[in-house]
Point group: D2
Chain length 144, copies 4
């Protein structure tokens, strides 16, 4: 399935050398924002909310970090890869910590299980994007 | 096509009386965030960027307003409808002004055309959500 | 005390006709974002968190709405006042609902009391900004 | 001058071991959000906007990264330092790249000069926070 933001990226005057990775990363990041927001709110509705405060905090952290990442990755007209690479690294970390906690509650709370899956997908998309950028940087260095 | 966040909403302990409207509204809002961010960045890459500054500003406004809306609408455990209704109204306005400007450039810039479509879809989803809430409020008042 | 963002606004090529109102509104909005985030996190650390879930939700709503408002109000190069006016209205509503709930816990939780004060300040700054814009619009209409 | 969010942090049930560093980091991050938003909008109003597109992009990146950082650092009830550390690292990078570009235009555009100063202040506050956390982690390890 093509990423939903792909058709827009094709209309950008600056053609990304890896538009599908950008689109998948952005879509996964915003899907993770949505999942983390729902998980936090669902945890607040659980009877034993006091056992879920770490989960809620990591959900909120992850949502904010992913929103920044999704926004930064879409700015494909950039010439400077550093801000994106650093934000991808932060996102990979947030998308490791949040599902680690979510999975402790996955058996009893389905929203935690689904949230962990959204985080995993986002982390994988960020790692792919990171690898693509590193590879592109190396290729560029080779041809100098 | 079901909204992508729908399965998560079904796992929320508080069952929304209109989960599909919530999910469509959130998905449309975050899709519009993505579209507006790409349109702003694409405008910055156009040769005649000086003619597109209003478009860029409205893109950025719309992205920020839609991000807040998408976040607020997903908080379905709420008991107080006011913050959501007011934010939906702001989002409907942002999703009217941005495409009005985008459409002035749609013939020459495909990203403006696609961004306008994303705004339209978000506005429609917000209007549906607003109507659903108003109807729910009236039904509730009737049964008192 | 002059608003902290005032010196930057004075360097903007487009001179706002009411720069101090803009600066105060933006500063109050981001101060409210900070207060709401701290209040939500402090509520999560309270022993009886299950009694504070409405407060946490309204904190999170208010933080997101204020962040959008602060961003939109700073875009003083705009020509189109509508998106800002609609977002100010949403912010005034969020900054009414959140402190209403916070004040129910103000006697026992000082963070709720301080958060309510930050919301009040933000609402007042938004109302001033709204009145200034309305007045500016009327003056402009008079001179046509 | 004490950071403006300090009094709220003192009311948090979980007492941070370094509340002033947290408060300064959050205040600096949101001040940088404001500065970057104004700089981007001011650049859009400059006659030669086409020479400032890199600056605008880095402003927007930096604003989004700083907003996430300010939000994450305020969550002092957390038990897991990793998401914050990774986001601080991303913020330090964004607050290095943005002022590097801004300073190329500082002689002609005062908003670029002031924005660079806000980024510097945010980077310094993030570095202090990072060092404090590292030190706290080492002390904790020592006492085990």
């Amino acid at each position: 399935m093509p990423a939903s933001i792909s058709p827009m990226l094709e209309t950008h005057p600056h053609r990304s050398s890896h538009p599908e990775d950008v689109a998948r990363c952005a879509d996964a990041a915003f899907a993770c924002v949505e999942a983390c927001k729902v998980c936090a709110d669902a945890c607040l509705s659980e009877e034993r909310v006091s056992l879920l405060t770490s989960c809620i905090r990591l959900n909120l952290d992850c949502a904010e970090v992913c929103a920044a990442t999704g926004s930064v990755v879409l700015r494909i007209g950039r010439t400077d890869p550093q801000p994106l690479q650093a934000q991808l690294a932060a996102c990979i970390e947030a998308c490791r910590d949040c599902p680690d906690e979510c999975r402790r509650h996955a058996a009893t709370h389905a929203h935690c299980r689904l949230c962990a899956e959204a985080c995993d997908a986002c982390r994988a998309a960020c790692e792919t994007m990171m690898a693509t950028m590193r590879h592109a940087g190396e290729s560029e260095a080779d041809t100098r």
